[in-house]
């Protein structure tokens, strides 16, 4: 029986999420025994033409050519999985969405007329149907293996959707907000990293993107209580998942509930 075929595609990105697959050093050759890696330019010059059973897509759409190319990839793929913040939420390059791309181009390039780019950086799902989204900047290696395994056996991937706070508790981290008044996006950020930043005595900076229904007011109140001003709160949500609608909303809500009613009590020391 023919092995299922896997293709890996890159759009506007840093390559970190593709690299995560190659970082599964103990599992890579085993994966290669069970799937035919038919297209993966970071790893091989051999390319088989489609269709493909599974396509992993990294990167966001920032050019007209890429907007066309993702449509072709979708047509050739039975299952399309987006991996990482660029593909799922526009990436850090989505910061152009809040600015003037022509001005950006002229800052970086002496001949902006040689450059052709779209005004926005958009996630893959804004262009084609996506069968599964794996968040992270970068994605977590174990979660990637879970997704690949699940697809191979035909079940839904077990990827929790709760916030980083749950992972902090599981890991036994001291809460950096409560104990130290450190700003943290954990309450509104999608789990997946294992609460890595609080484990290193810093606040979560949201690289796995938003949870589904974050409480914008409460989070803004928490951040203001730790000493952040409005501009800081906005910047906090405009990083690697800048085009995620929930983070866009969070970046626009910069004041929380009045004192005495919630998170602003936390860092009252």
């Amino acid at each position: 029986m023919a092995l299922p075929t896997l293709a890996v595609w890159k759009f506007a990105s840093c390559d970190g999420c593709q690299l995560t697959l190659l970082d599964c050093e103990d599992e890579l050759l085993a994966i290669a025994d069970r799937v035919k890696i038919a297209h993966f330019t970071e790893a091989s010059s051999e390319t088989q033409p489609g269709p493909y059973d599974v396509s992993l897509v990294e990167g966001s759409i920032t050019t007209a050519a890429d907007a066309e190319r993702i449509r072709q990839v979708r047509e050739m793929s039975r299952t399309l999985v987006t991996i990482g913040a660029c593909a799922t939420a526009g990436g850090v390059q989505a910061l152009r969405n809040f600015a003037d791309v022509e001005e950006f181009t002229s800052v970086v390039y002496a001949r902006p007329d040689y450059i052709s780019a779209l005004d926005t950086s958009t996630p893959i799902a804004a262009h084609v149907d996506v069968d599964f989204e794996l968040h992270g900047c970068p994605i977590d290696r174990r979660q990637l293996l879970e997704v690949i395994t699940a697809l191979l056996v035909g079940r839904k991937p077990n990827i929790p959707a709760h916030s980083v706070c749950f992972e902090c508790k599981q890991r036994g981290n001291v809460c950096v907000v409560v104990a130290h008044g450190t700003p943290c996006l954990g309450p509104v950020t999608h789990a997946g990293c294992g609460a890595l930043c609080p484990a290193h005595h810093r606040g979560c900076y949201g690289c796995f993107g938003p949870v589904e229904t974050p409480n914008a007011g409460a989070q803004a109140g928490l951040l203001r209580a730790t000493g952040m001003d409005e501009a800081d709160v906005t910047r906090a949500f405009r990083t690697f998942n800048a085009a995620a609608p929930a983070f866009i909303e969070l970046s626009q809500v910069t004041t929380g509930p009045p004192p005495g009613l919630g998170p602003s009590d936390i860092a009252g020391r």
């Binding site: 970190g16 330019t41 010059s45 181009t105 900047c137």
Partner: protein, 410 residues
């Protein structure tokens, strides 16, 4: 890649690199002075530490802060991890298959599984350093302007050292293996540029030096290096003011600093037949393999004398001004410059990656390389040109597996 041939001779070679532009230098404006390490890491998933380190040096320079020796050593250790990971990735997954006639390491694994497993184990050792010191191998979370959020404990370092002792043997085997490859006879005469720190192989800091006798500080970088845009590439081309194209990266580092390799790395280089300098781009795989030996050896030395720095970071209050930083990314000199206002917001940013500095030299080498191979058909020529480009480990290595070659023969 476009090649124009007229009257049986190569008239022009253009390497069209079209990575969609992301505009980092533009959107860094208005960010806080503490943000460049996290943000610029996202320029590259394979060498994020390089970006974090150059960013930290530049911001700290602007704010008048110099980190302690303990923090500097921990940064150097982290950087060793990235050199090991990046070079092992390139050697085993991207470059060696070319020399052995395979389309990929996965194909190579069918005939020599142990070889590929060795490369993956070496890469894993590099990642282990980055995971311990940086918190995460891709886009480390533990790096901050002023130092680290958390310093690893000595017991954690001891466990890491165990893995690195095994890795040293794998690294030495890698040099010996690569020394047996067949290398086309090809030499270049480009000026080579790298950081130097006399007495030690430069990684995390240094003065910029060249084989043509230049010597300047990172603060003078923009006086000596001129970046130009060309119509056929979104990667800017660089040249030395008044001099022309140049090459940075492992062969430049080796040529300028090989006398400061550690004894075990020096021996490996000698046994592999590397002399005092390396001007054959095909032999860069040997130089990378020697640098892996050096990086593992250096990491072990740093761990041996490790004491958790206390404090593990300094506060870096913002100060209006400009700061410059340059470090040796796996692929060569990586330069950052930031201007900051009194509130600590960035007003301008300039980032010069190694791969764009090498563009002009790569095109020149390809022009000469193709000139001797015009009798090949386009498919064979494409394959050989892909291999030739991989010599430079350009940070678009993946796209060199996807080379569209057009030959315009009049």
């Amino acid at each position: 890649m476009h090649v124009r041939v007229r009257a049986g001779a190569v008239e022009d070679v253009r390497l069209e690199i079209y990575e969609p532009p992301r505009f980092f230098e533009a959107f860094l404006r208005g960010r806080r002075h503490t943000e460049p390490p996290d943000i610029t890491a996202r320029i590259c998933g394979i060498c994020p530490v390089a970006y974090q380190m150059s960013a930290c040096l530049a911001i700290e320079a602007a704010c008048g802060i110099e980190v302690s020796d303990g923090v500097a050593d921990l940064r150097r250790l982290l950087y060793c991890g990235e050199w090991i990971e990046s070079h092992a990735l390139h050697i085993y997954l991207l470059h060696a298959p070319d020399f052995l006639g395979y389309a990929s390491a996965l194909d190579l694994a069918r005939d020599g599984r142990g070889l590929v497993e060795r490369g993956l184990a070496l890469k894993k050792a590099g990642n282990a350093i980055m995971e311990l010191v940086g918190g995460r191998a891709i886009h480390p979370v533990n790096v901050r302007v002023g130092g680290f959020y958390r310093a690893p404990a000595r017991t954690e370092m001891a466990a890491l050292a165990e893995k690195l002792r095994v890795a040293l043997d794998l690294a030495l085997d890698t040099v010996a293996w690569a020394a047996g490859f067949e290398f086309p006879d090809f030499q270049h005469d480009h000026e080579m540029v790298a950081l130097v720190t006399p007495g030690q192989y430069a990684i995390d800091r240094g003065t910029v030096a060249s084989t043509g006798g230049l010597s300047f500080t990172p603060a003078e970088f923009e006086d000596y290096v001129i970046e130009e845009q060309v119509p056929h590439s979104t990667a800017l081309h660089a040249r030395l003011a008044g001099r022309g194209r140049y090459l940075t990266g492992p062969t430049a580092r080796y040529t300028l600093s090989s006398q400061w390799l550690s004894p075990v790395a020096r021996q490996a280089a000698d046994a592999a037949g590397l002399g005092a300098e390396c001007r054959n781009p095909f032999r860069s795989i040997l130089v990378r393999a020697v640098e892996v030996v050096y990086a593992v050896d250096e990491a072990l030395r740093l761990i041996e004398r490790y004491e958790p720095p206390a404090p593990c970071y300094l506060e870096v209050p913002p100060r209006a001004g400009v700061g410059h930083g340059a470090t040796e990314a796996p692929r060569g000199v990586l330069f950052h410059r930031y201007a900051i206002d009194a509130e600590g917001l960035i007003t301008s940013a300039r980032i010069v990656p190694p791969t764009s500095q090498n563009q002009a030299s790569i095109e020149d080498d390809l022009r000469r390389f193709v000139a001797d191979r015009l009798d090949l058909d386009d498919q064979q020529l494409t394959h050989q040109c892909e291999q030739a480009i991989r010599n430079y480990d350009p940070c678009i290595s993946c796209s060199t597996h996807f080379l569209d070659l057009t030959v315009d023969r009049a």
